[in-house]
Subunit: 325 residues, 2 copies
């Protein structure tokens, strides 16, 4: 495979000139410019981008760290990142972690090794100490409330959203409220948990462990929730569900079990995925795609200008009132 030196030889110019032509720099006589392009054509030359990466010290790639590629929640975020990255000529390197520390570390190592120029961590399990170690290796954006820590972040105000939902349910007269969550660890989950407990405390209700359903991610998890709910001696009358997927599962499997929604069980969900519209599920719209877009922009700005306008950005959820509550 031809390289830039051969092009230079064939075109009768120096490698510097070839580089100038290839990158569209000025100060090259038109005839030389032409000669270079002809040589490129003739030798069927293509840049070796790894040499470019080495020489420039950057790759125009940002890494995206997430537990599951195939979940609509993360899909929406990635979509937002992808759209923006495309616009600025950046590429995306995907790190599916399954919440394994090892995999997350690997992604961080890739930042240090300059495989990626920056990192967007959609969800994580590694501790802050670990993140801190890699902070100087390139911009890292977290999709969670970093609470004043010295890292970039764009996040959805899950606490407010959950609190809002709780109050909404309580306004409708509900006192016995349970909730479904993807995992109990993680900043976002903790924020929701806090809102849940705070709201319950407000009405002097004590929380019940059996009304909290963990590991709720996909539609099929809704089936499990319905079955567990049915088996409950004392049942909550309403459920906050952190994902429309799970809510859809609950509504659909619930129907099959003869559960009336919202009469027997009110379902209040989050995401505003089209499935929620189709099922008339009351939900909070989460600006996931926007969050991805903003996360990328933050990285980009940091990379190109070295400055950051805002270190942290909080995005709000929006009520979509339908008939499942």
């Amino acid at each position: 495979m031809a390289n830039i030196r051969e092009i230079a030889k064939v075109a009768g110019v120096s490698v510097a000139t070839v580089s100038r032509v290839l990158n569209g720099y000025p100060y090259v006589k038109e005839e030389k410019r032409k000669a270079v392009w002809e040589a490129v054509e003739k030798l069927n030359y293509t840049k070796n981008i790894n040499a470019v990466h080495l020489a420039k010290g950057k790759t125009s790639i940002v890494g995206v760290v997430l537990p599951y590629v195939n979940h609509p929640y993360f899909g929406a975020i990635v979509e937002g990142i992808s759209r923006e990255a495309l616009r600025y000529g950046y590429h995306l390197l995907l790190f599916q972690t399954n919440y394994e520390v090892q995999k997350e570390l690997e992604a961080l190592e890739m930042l240090r090794m300059k495989q990626v120029d920056g990192l967007i961590i959609c969800s994580r399990i590694v501790s802050w100490d670990v993140i801190d170690v890699y902070k100087d290796d390139g911009p890292i954006v977290l999709c969670e409330d970093v609470k004043g820590r010295d890292v970039l972040s764009v996040y959805i105000n899950h606490y407010e959203a959950f609190l809002f939902a709780m109050k909404y349910l309580m306004n409708k007269g509900h006192r016995k409220i349970g909730y479904c969550i993807g995992r109990t660890t993680g900043t976002n989950s903790k924020a929701r948990e806090a809102a849940y407990y705070d709201a319950l405390r407000n009405i002097h209700e004590s929380p019940r462990k059996e009304w909290i359903f963990d590991h709720c991610l996909y539609i099929e998890d809704g089936k499990r929730v319905v079955n567990e709910w049915l088996a409950l001696p004392e049942k909550p009358t309403a459920l906050l569900v952190s994902s429309d997927q799970v809510a859809a599962g609950i509504v659909l499997w619930g129907r099959r079990e003869g559960i009336n929604i919202p009469e027997d069980l009110a379902v209040f969900s989050f995401d505003n995925h089209p499935i929620a519209e189709a099922l008339e599920i009351t939900t909070m719209d989460l600006p996931l795609s926007l969050m991805g877009t903003k996360a990328f922009r933050m990285i980009y700005q940091c990379l190109e200008t070295g400055k950051i306008a805002k270190k942290s950005e909080k995005l709000d959820a929006r009520l979509i009132e339908r008939s499942s509550v």
Copy 2:
């Protein structure tokens, strides 16, 4: 940032020895090995992976070309690819194309420039001539029937699956059958179209343009289909739907319009996404994740051994009988 030369100096060895230690090669005295690791520790050294890429001429990255990251169909494929890539220490570079030729070309260029070692094209719009140009730049796997062309491929037998579905519907007495598809171009879509026409011809029914619904990808497209179906002067009694998402939309919006399924309208779908189970939709299970896994393996095998066991692999769909037909 320290480099391998500095490590060599500090450890009092040559760069070759440092490289040996770093890569776990034999033939290094234990004491030197230790000295190197100590220097690495001391200088907080990390490899510059771009230099590695350049020197090795490979990156251990495979590119994944797809139109939309955020569709469950492609999500499932990527999931399969990702799982396998993880196992073999490969990374995934995502190319979201939105079916723009320019974007697909860019991905192919990345193969030529050695940004990626191989390419998995989940769906495409560029012509075969274009693909051919890049064939020698690295392994390319297509997720479609390449019909004897000299490219690798793993694909689902959409023709058989669609034909099977048509016969199934016809066995249930349906004669007026329409179908919903994501796009009308593309090998996979053409295969389905062919099966549709072949089956109709079999029962001497002539196809109707207004019974073919294009651009059906997401749940919300089901709403559109329902509305169009309702407005039809003469309605098909059954619909073949290429995606469970759309089928779900049809079933759900159909219910809201008082359409009885399957009495008024039978729905036969594809994918076997959990949503189909929740909605009791009869569907064909498509081994999407498996296809991704196999696609990666093909690339991997090609890369590591230079040989290909099978150039093309056809995967079959499986009937999941439920109650929407």
